[in-house]
């Protein structure tokens, strides 16, 4: 059970940052993950009054506030066009609409959860995160870092040319994914992220030379096989490592072919 002794609606990011330096204090996103934990929190630091719930469009990027809900991401027309629907596809299995109205992109990326659909897709999209003190960091670097006591304020999605596709597999509807794959096919190469391995999502290069002549069912399969060989997989109650490796080859191939078809 989550026990909260004090609640503060932060008036500024500096205040939130100062408060979150104390180990017993905690930043609130949507609180959904926090609520599954058994802990006592001194001060719950609420970011909901800081205007971090907007999506700004600039000529070359979308800048998404940390408190933007997964539902808002799913429904945003510009992000839908940028990702050809992959963003909505990546979150639509997450519990339900009421849940996604609460879960935040900031909490989802800060958490760097093994099962995260959001982390998987955002890695393939070359996202950057903005930290109040730590500045701007590529998500791939952030994902590999240990947890720091800093506020994630925004996530930036660059407007890159090319196509994106997302594919995941679940044992039952609304459960955590057994495996999640995101592929971005860019004029200068391919970005392929695999998550829920069940370890957290990571980018894998595959063998780009295999796609030099274009994406066909054969080259997509060869590339997917290379990714499945490079990636590390583990076993948990949802699936075994070997099954995940087999699934990875199928999902990466499908995602690549979906990019090609679009």
């Amino acid at each position: 059970m989550l026990t909260i002794k004090r609640y503060v609606r932060a008036q500024s990011l500096d205040e939130a940052y100062a408060l979150c330096q104390k180990r017993a204090n905690v930043v609130l996103g949507g609180m959904l993950w926090l609520k599954t934990q058994n802990r006592t929190v001194d001060t719950a630091i609420d970011l909901c009054g800081l205007g971090l719930d907007t999506i700004e469009e600039t000529p070359d990027a979308y800048r998404i506030g940390a408190m933007v809900s997964l539902r808002a991401l799913e429904q945003h027309a510009g992000l839908g066009a940028l990702t050809q629907g992959a963003l909505a596809e990546s979150v639509r299995h997450i519990v339900g609409v009421q849940f996604r109205n609460l879960a935040t992109v900031g909490g989802s990326l800060y958490g760097r959860f093994g099962f995260s659909d959001v982390l998987t897709l955002f890695l393939a999209l070359d996202a950057r995160v903005e930290l109040h003190h730590g500045g701007t960091v590529p998500l791939a670097e952030y994902a590999a870092r240990p947890y720091e006591r800093d506020i994630l304020t925004h996530v930036v999605l660059p407007k890159l040319p090319g196509r994106v596709a997302y594919a995941s597999q679940r044992n039952s509807a609304t459960d955590f994914p057994v495996l999640a794959c995101a592929v971005a096919l860019r004029p200068d190469g391919v970005r392929c992220a695999v998550g829920a391995r069940p370890m957290k999502a990571q980018l894998y290069p595959g063998d780009p030379a295999l796609l030099a002549g274009g994406v066909t069912p054969e080259t997509a399969d060869a590339f997917a096989a290379a990714v499945a060989q490079q990636a590390a997989f583990g076993s948990n109650l949802r699936a075994g490592a070997d099954y995940r490796r087999g699934l990875c080859r199928v999902l990466v191939r499908r995602a690549l072919l979906a990019c090609k078809e679009g």
């Binding site: 609130l28 599954t36 339900g96 849940f99």
Partner: protein, 158 residues
Amino acid sequence: MEIQLKLNGRPLRAAVEPGTLLLDFVRAHGCASVKRGCETSNCGLCTVLLDGKPVLSCSVLAARADGCEVQTLEGLQAEAEAFVAFIADQGAEQCGFCNPGYVMNTIALLRENPDPTDDEIRAYLAGNLCRCSGYEGQLRGIRAFLDARGPAKEGHHG
């Protein structure tokens, strides 16, 4: 601490503990339609509208609702009346425990998308669990209501 909000249109000022959940707050203020189901953000029984959006009240602090508008089924009887009999007609209610959450989320669905397809209904209600029925009854009920009503005046914006 003290919070101020609107509950079913009524301004309310009340003292809450920092960790009080919105679920416990609305139940303590007479809204017993809001049910405590899983309390782990999985079942949708505790659905309320927070500033018009359906959310899980078991997973929101009452403190965060300070300054907001909260609606429960107690305040949305007229809107629910239009379709609940269609759901009952299909035998979709057995123990009925999940029903208020279903009705609240169906209200949210129909406000957002007045002419949903069956797949859109399924997707929107995926976070509402029912231990008794096979979900088909709820779907048939909403479909029967939509067919009886005809196309919505506002048009489709799904």
